[in-house]
Amino acid sequence: MGYIAVKGGTAAIEESIKRLCYKRIKGKRIIEVDTIKNTMRGLIDKIMSEGSLYSKDLAALAIKQSEGNPEEAAFLIRAYRSTLPRMHYSRAAEPGDMRIERRISAAFKDIPGGQILGASVDYTHRLLDFGLYDEEMADLEQWLREYDKNLIISDGEFNTRIPKVIEFLRNEGIVARASINDTEPRDVTRTSIEFPTTRCERLQTLTRGETGAVTALGYAAIRGYGAVHPTVGELRVGHLSVYIDYPFSGSNEPEDSIYIGEIQVTEVETLIPYIVEKPGGKQELQFSIGYGICYGQNETKAIAMSILDNCLENSHIKSPVHDEEFVLMHIDCVEATGFISHLKLPHYVTFQSELDTVRKTRSHGGNNHE
């Protein structure tokens, strides 16, 4: 079969793009990018995380352009990111120094620093609030004034930085202490992943993974398709300061670094029990840690990431969620969406070939019956 080149789609494509614009604006309502940024926190965080770019402004713009379609918005962000120069690498941010706004543990009731609920939907009734139809700006302003008025500040110093639960467990010897490893990470955006991967590649891929995919595989892991029994040792949401080394001096002294802003992240450390064989055949129970972190307040994804992190550390176990190629190659939103959606683009050549084969087979079969 020869290739047949076709043309004639230009006018149709132009009209298709016009039709897309019509669909977005036909309701004659304009949503400001700033409104999206200030009211769609959950979606903004998801897009920043999957787009792998921290910018609430750009995430809001992408949401508007994509008409609220998260996979398209993440695609737009990734595409834009690829047009920008990478100017610097940050100094290693330490989530232990996070400015906390939420912190819980499912493993311990009394954790030093306490359990701080922060802003969470966990304790809401999940009933539709029909009052939102009639929300008025004046009411919001009144609510905010009241809220501010009721805020009592004591004279005492507030400790915004709270030590990690894991550290206390390490001090007790329940969790093995890991020495600092400053090996420069590999970057999955610069070189393609090769298997077996390194830990830094796995974590980078997991954190930019599609929320639904990461959650689905994490869920599968604890439903019986994985050998993990996790407990959330600590989940924290807060702000991390980002510093870079001063570019002119070549100095890497912390005092000489530049502060460029802060990012909100969700970090999870999951405790997973395992048996350690001691001398004399004695067995001891210890905990390994699954680690998850992602941009914004994105708790389900961070927990699922921590489960998958631990699964992939034990890749000898025969189960899909412990198979790094299976997990890492299928959670990226842009890769997955791109590959699936290419099926809807015209590929007449491929299909024509398949069709020819089917016709030939049928024709031979038909002859036999005649």
């Binding site: 600092i180 830094c200 974590l203 001063y246 502060y259 972190i293």
Partner: protein, 140 residues
């Protein structure tokens, strides 16, 4: 005041302060723009808590600008698309690198702003701490 503290105060604080400090320099010195404010990325490195290793979390949108006063360079880098602030930060950085006389009077302004930032963060934390759980074991 070291560069880390100074940039933290300028970026976290009221941006009008950076604007007025930079303006003070611009009105008296020849500030040459070496690199106009332009968008770029900073790759964020994070230390993870399980094995204490580092990995790349993702990128952050930044605006970067470079200026020169006399023979001293200055750089301004700030999150998101903030060209004016990037320029002001670059001017302030160059002023410090050139040891301009004006910078000696800025310490008090920066310390005062640092205090305001501390108060603001304390207020935020006080607000957050209202959600701290006070567990009481129930008799059953």
């Amino acid at each position: 005041m070291n560069r880390k503290n100074r940039t933290t105060i300028l970026v976290k604080g009221n941006w009008q302060i950076a604007g007025s400090l930079a303006q003070e320099i611009i009105s008296k010195y020849n500030v040459r723009t070496i690199q106009k404010p332009s968008r770029g990325l900073v790759m964020i490195k994070v230390r993870e808590g399980a094995q204490n290793s580092v990995f790349y979390l993702g990128e952050m949108l930044v605006t970067e600008c470079k200026v020169q006063i006399d023979d001293k360079l200055g750089v301004g880098i700030i999150h998101d698309d903030n060209p004016e602030m990037a320029y002001n930060l670059a001017v302030i950085d160059a002023a410090y690198n050139a040891c301009l006389l004006e910078t000696s009077t800025w310490k008090a302004i920066l310390f005062a702003e640092e205090e305001r930032i501390r108060n603001r963060e304390a207020k935020e934390m006080a607000d957050v701490l209202k959600t701290k759980v006070d567990f009481t074991t129930m008799d059953v």
